[in-house]
């Protein structure tokens, strides 16, 4: 199993395709950082428009923490596409190349093969997120400094103390990892059914795009199905950036407003991952390899 995992990782990281994602993330993050560095004041003024009407806001509003939040908000919707590129290719790509049949005539069980491949996809996903965390969080902290973070939500503003943020990002990245892993498992599952990688990649992306649009649309008829779409839960990481207040409306440091909702979303995603992985194993064990 360990050998198989090593081999899968070796294969993933020997392919140029793997690095597209890293380059894309680096490019997107630096573009956003550059834009905010140059024109961030306008962005902040716009976001603070309503608040500035009644309040004077002083301090480094556009600090590394807020920049990271903006980046994650923009990027985490698109990273699934990059994850898909690898995950949906894992089985179908080998079927297409013809290496799948060679791999499966080796004295390793299919369950081992599929788990090793899934783990490799998971590791790839985590590495991409860690890479993103370094760029989006640490580099932003270096460029923009740190301060309290104003989370400007649609209905209200949350002020997070600068020493109450970092752990939230760790949680957010873990949550994002879960969300991305859900995408990876979907791509992985679909890749079982094709003998070229284009099909499952496009299928996975389509599912994500359609689901995301349904999740985003604020139309009553779609609201009813939102809870059943995994994309709705994928943005649950934002929940870590809202705090509870006490009776005096003071923010309670270290609290999370809807922790149960966030955990529920995480649970739903975990169930998706487990379900898709189990289905993958069951399908793959019985599958006749005709490629």
């Amino acid at each position: 199993m360990w050998k198989l995992l090593q081999i899968e990782l070796f294969k993933i990281f020997k392919r140029p395709r793997t690095y597209i994602s890293f380059v894309a993330v680096a490019a997107l993050v630096s573009i956003i950082q550059f834009g905010l560095k140059v024109d961030g004041k306008m962005y902040v003024d716009f976001m603070l428009r309503d608040l500035s009407a009644s309040f004077n806001i002083e301090g480094n509003v556009l600090n590394g923490y807020l920049v990271c939040y903006i980046i994650l908000q923009l990027l985490l919707v698109h990273v699934p596409l990059l994850i898909t590129l690898i995950a949906a290719d894992l089985i179908s790509g080998e079927a297409n190349m013809g290496t799948l049949r060679l791999l499966l005539t080796k004295p390793v069980s299919r369950t081992e093969v599929i788990l090793a491949k899934f783990l490799a996809a998971a590791i790839y996903t985590f590495l991409l997120l860690i890479f993103m965390a370094i760029l989006a969080l640490f580099v932003s902290m270096a460029i923009f400094g740190t301060d309290d973070m104003l989370n400007l939500k649609s209905g209200y503003v949350v002020q997070l103390k600068s020493n109450d943020i970092f752990w939230r990002y760790i949680c957010a990245f873990c949550f994002a990892a879960l969300a991305m892993l859900t995408v990876a498992s979907l791509g992985f599952f679909l890749s079982l059914f094709a003998e070229n990688s284009i099909g499952p990649i496009v299928a996975t992306m389509s599912v994500i795009v359609v689901f995301t649009i349904l999740s985003t649309l604020d139309i009553p008829i779609f609201n009813a199905i939102k809870p059943y779409l995994f994309t709705t839960h994928m943005i649950g990481w934002k929940g870590f950036f809202d705090v509870k207040v006490n009776n005096d409306n003071e923010a309670i440091i270290g609290s999370v407003q809807n922790l149960d909702k966030v955990l529920q979303a995480a649970g739903i995603l975990a169930l998706h991952i487990f379900g898709l992985l189990l289905a993958s194993v069951l399908v793959f064990r019985k599958k006749d390899i005709l490629s």
Binding site: D50, N56, G59, K153, S154, Y156, Q159, K161
Partner: protein
């Protein structure tokens, strides 16, 4: 216009026994007490209670220098302060003689008997339209002030005194003010969830900021740089 109101108010005030003369001398006494303080740096805690803001209690430093330099700074982090409200300061209000004081009767604030005095600025261009002071005559302390401004609506300050009462400096100040609406489109904030309304109703547009002072450093001649 203001003159007319003034005349109207004056006619009302005539019913009360307190004369304008008495009021002016009371104000003078209060002012001379406040004038003992040339400058101060105070440390305290600030609580923000606004329906659409979730802010933690923060440490603040308050700087004052006569006649009208006043600023509140959050020790660390970002400060969200009501416009002009918090920077409104009693000494600044009473500095100069550019107002007309009108006695407006008596009342109680927190169980203490107080005299009501209305101050009308003589300067027609002043942002402040009217200030009502609730003065504890016995201790020469301003317990409460209601101010109406042109730009920033009406706000209220309530003060309680303790250790620094002899300087006329409060231990606790509560600002109550009106806020405008806050709303960002969900498309901008990229929020998908539909049922994410804040616990506190946004309709309650009254905001409160409370500063609890823990210590004052008085008359140590602070630099003007602090107010930049």
């Amino acid at each position: 216009m203001k003159k007319i109101i003034f005349v109207f108010l004056s006619s009302l005030i005539c019913h009360f026994s307190t004369s304008a003369q008495d009021v002016n001398s009371l104000i003078k006494k209060v002012r001379s007490k406040l004038d003992k303080v040339n400058d101060y740096i105070a440390e305290g805690k600030m609580k923000t209670d606004v329906a659409f803001i979730k802010a933690p209690v923060g440490k603040v430093k308050v700087f004052y220098k006569r006649p009208d330099k006043f600023t509140v700074k959050r020790d660390k982090g970002i400060s969200i302060l009501p416009k002009s409200g918090v920077s409104f300061n009693m000494s600044s209000v009473l500095s100069g003689d550019n107002y007309t004081a009108i006695p407006s009767g008596e009342s109680t604030v927190g169980g203490d008997k107080v005299k009501l005095v209305k101050l009308l600025p003589n300067d027609d261009n002043s942002d402040v339209v009217l200030t009502t002071l609730y003065i504890d005559e016995a201790n020469l302390l301003i317990k409460k002030a209601n101010t109406t401004t042109r730009e920033n609506g009406t706000f209220e300050m309530e003060m309680s005194y303790g250790k620094y009462a002899s300087y006329g400096l409060p231990d606790r100040v509560i600002f109550a003010f009106n806020t405008k609406e806050y709303k960002l489109p969900k498309g901008v904030t990229l929020e998908f969830d539909t049922d994410d309304t804040p616990k506190h109703s946004v309709k309650n547009k009254k905001g409160r900021v409370e500063i609890i002072y823990s210590s004052y450093v008085i008359n140590k001649n602070i630099s003007d740089m602090e107010f930049k």
